[in-house]
């Protein structure tokens, strides 16, 4: 295992961005922080800048106005960086895929490592997804 991956696995810092979501996925991400789910016990925390991030959580259809911003944010993250597509919207476009503002889905724009489907996925599902990812990195 390379040193970088080893360091990455220790304590994941998560940057969350939304590119045209209904907000529910974002709330469920925040709900992971609350006392019931408490992802901080795994050493994960939300950070305010992509430059600090190990994991990029993306939600939403990535609307045409956001396309450049998503690419920009991805370029700003320190590599290796894990990209997670959360929710039906960012995995495939979900109910909005035929709209005129559809700029995504996410994997058309940046490489995605894991998909967590659901509308919205439960916090448990998100945690399970990240745990699977950690195992995959090993």
């Amino acid at each position: 295992m390379s040193l970088k991956i080893k360091a990455l696995k220790k304590s994941l810092w998560v940057y969350h961005m939304s590119g045209g979501s209904c907000n529910n996925c974002d709330i469920e991400i925040l709900a992971c922080l609350d006392p019931r789910f408490d992802i901080e016990r795994f050493g994960m925390t939300l950070v305010g800048s992509p430059r600090h991030a190990d994991v990029l959580l993306c939600t939403g259809i990535i609307n045409k106005k956001c396309v450049e911003r998503v690419k920009e944010v991805y370029a700003q993250t320190a590599k290796p960086c894990v990209v997670v597509a959360i929710g039906a919207c960012s995995c495939s476009g979900g109910i909005f895929r035929d709209g005129y503002q559809m700029g995504g889905p996410l994997d058309k724009l940046i490489p995605v490592d894991i998909y967590i489907p659901g509308c919205p996925p439960k916090p448990e599902a998100m945690i399970a997804g990240i745990v699977k990812l950690l195992e995959k990195l090993k």
Partner: protein, 400 residues
């Protein structure tokens, strides 16, 4: 004006801000620490819902409008069903009306708790965030018991509701409500009696009645300024005419009063839910009427969402899909009030004034400060703005 603006520092806020179809991007024009003007730019979350709705069956539209906003995911189907029923002149079975009210009010509680938590977070009171979000979980559990999902409940259907509230679930619901009341009381006192929060929020971001009128602001924002508009009372629908509740208003129109209105509204919501449960417990009854054709015509439906009046206009030509579906979410008229409430305020207060209107602030925001005067450009992220807000709270804490 344009000349004038050039000399000021511009602070753009946004654009990631997933509040409805249209999240926003704000540019604050600042003179030193003072905000002199605000610009609003939306569209980063525009998902073509009005267009998509024209390509969906009447019944499918309920699922689409639910996904306008994750926090108000009952408000939009509620208003939409009201609109279609207005067109039809149809009536809804009594049990379904009460169930609609229960879902609508549960949503109000969860949305207001979410707001209290985030507002606390912006002020540097993370304990408030943790508390509020902890107490929000039982509400989501209730949703899970009733509808099967934590969010996006898919309960609404033209002519009724899709699922019944089972009799055997009632005791569990009542138990959660009872526990919730105690917790909310504790939280309300903790927030309202805190001298620091009072000093920090009173007199900040004041909106007068005139501002409210000009921008057409609704909901808790308007009620905090002493305007008692509430669709549940003014234009009663569902079971609201049969329920007993108060409309909470406050006077000063500052952020503190907005918090007061929201906190007290939650108790009214609990009252409504308890009454509704009493009304349907042990009595069976239909939960939907069969509706097949939608004749040509137009209809308007309104619902008092947690953030204010949600308005849907639909036009039918007799086919199986709407020809036009106009959606107006409450924040659409609430957000422009920033133009009035932010001007003349300090930059550290902006975060909480923006939050005061409750445009779901859960999304990560990026803020850049442009010093247009000397062509210097500084990038901040949103956390910097929150940081400034917190520092100010700390300062007040020390002074008190």
């Amino acid at each position: 004006m344009a000349e004038d603006k050039k000399k000021k520092v511009i602070v753009p806020i946004g654009p990631y801000h997933p509040l409805l179809e249209e999240p926003e991007f704000f540019a604050l024009y600042c003179d030193g620490e003072k905000v002199v003007d605000v610009d609003w730019q939306a569209g980063y979350n525009h998902r073509a819902i009005e267009k998509l709705s024209e390509a969906k069956h009447w019944d499918q539209v309920t699922f689409l409008v639910e996904r306008i906003c994750g926090i108000c995911s009952t408000s939009h189907p509620f208003a939409y069903c009201n609109a279609v029923e207005d067109l039809l002149g149809a009536s809804v079975p009594e049990r379904a009306r009460y169930i609609r009210c229960i879902i609508g009010e549960l949503e109000r509680i969860h949305s207001h708790l979410l707001w209290v938590g985030l507002a606390g977070h912006f002020l540097g009171y993370n304990t408030v965030f943790m508390w509020a979000w902890k107490y929000r979980e039982p509400v989501l559990d209730m949703f899970e018991i009733i509808t099967g999902n934590r969010n996006h409940y898919a309960m609404f259907k033209i002519g009724g509701v899709r699922r019944n509230i089972e009799e055997e679930d009632m005791p569990a619901l009542r138990r959660v409500l009872k526990g919730l009341k105690v917790q909310l009381e504790m939280l309300t006192h903790a927030v309202l009696d805190d001298p620091v929060l009072g000093a920090r929020l009173k007199g900040v971001g004041v909106l007068t009645k005139e501002h409210i009128k000009n921008f057409g602001a609704v909901g808790p924002v308007a009620r905090a300024s002493g305007i008692g508009g509430d669709i549940r009372k003014d234009d009663p629908y569902a079971a609201y005419p049969m329920l007993d509740f108060k409309v909470i208003t406050a006077e000063h129109g500052d952020v503190f009063d907005k918090a007061v209105v929201r906190l007290l509204e939650m108790f009214e919501s609990i009252k409504i839910i308890e009454q509704s449960l009493d009304a349907i417990e042990g009595k069976g009854g239909d939960i939907q009427t069969e509706i097949r054709d939608i004749p040509p015509g137009e209809g308007i439906g309104r619902h008092e969402a947690p953030r204010g009046e949600c308005f849907h206009y639909i036009k039918s030509d007799g086919t199986n899909r709407p020809v036009r579906h106009k959606i107006r979410a409450p924040s659409y008229t609430n957000i422009p009030t920033f133009k009035a409430s932010c001007i003349g305020q300090m930059i550290p207060d902006v975060a909480i004034i923006l939050a005061g209107v409750d445009p779901c602030y859960c999304c990560t925001e990026r803020v850049a400060v442009y010093d247009a005067g000397n062509k210097k450009k500084q990038m901040y992220d949103f956390s910097r703005l929150v940081e400034m807000s917190r520092q100010k709270t700390e300062k007040i804490k020390k002074e008190i």
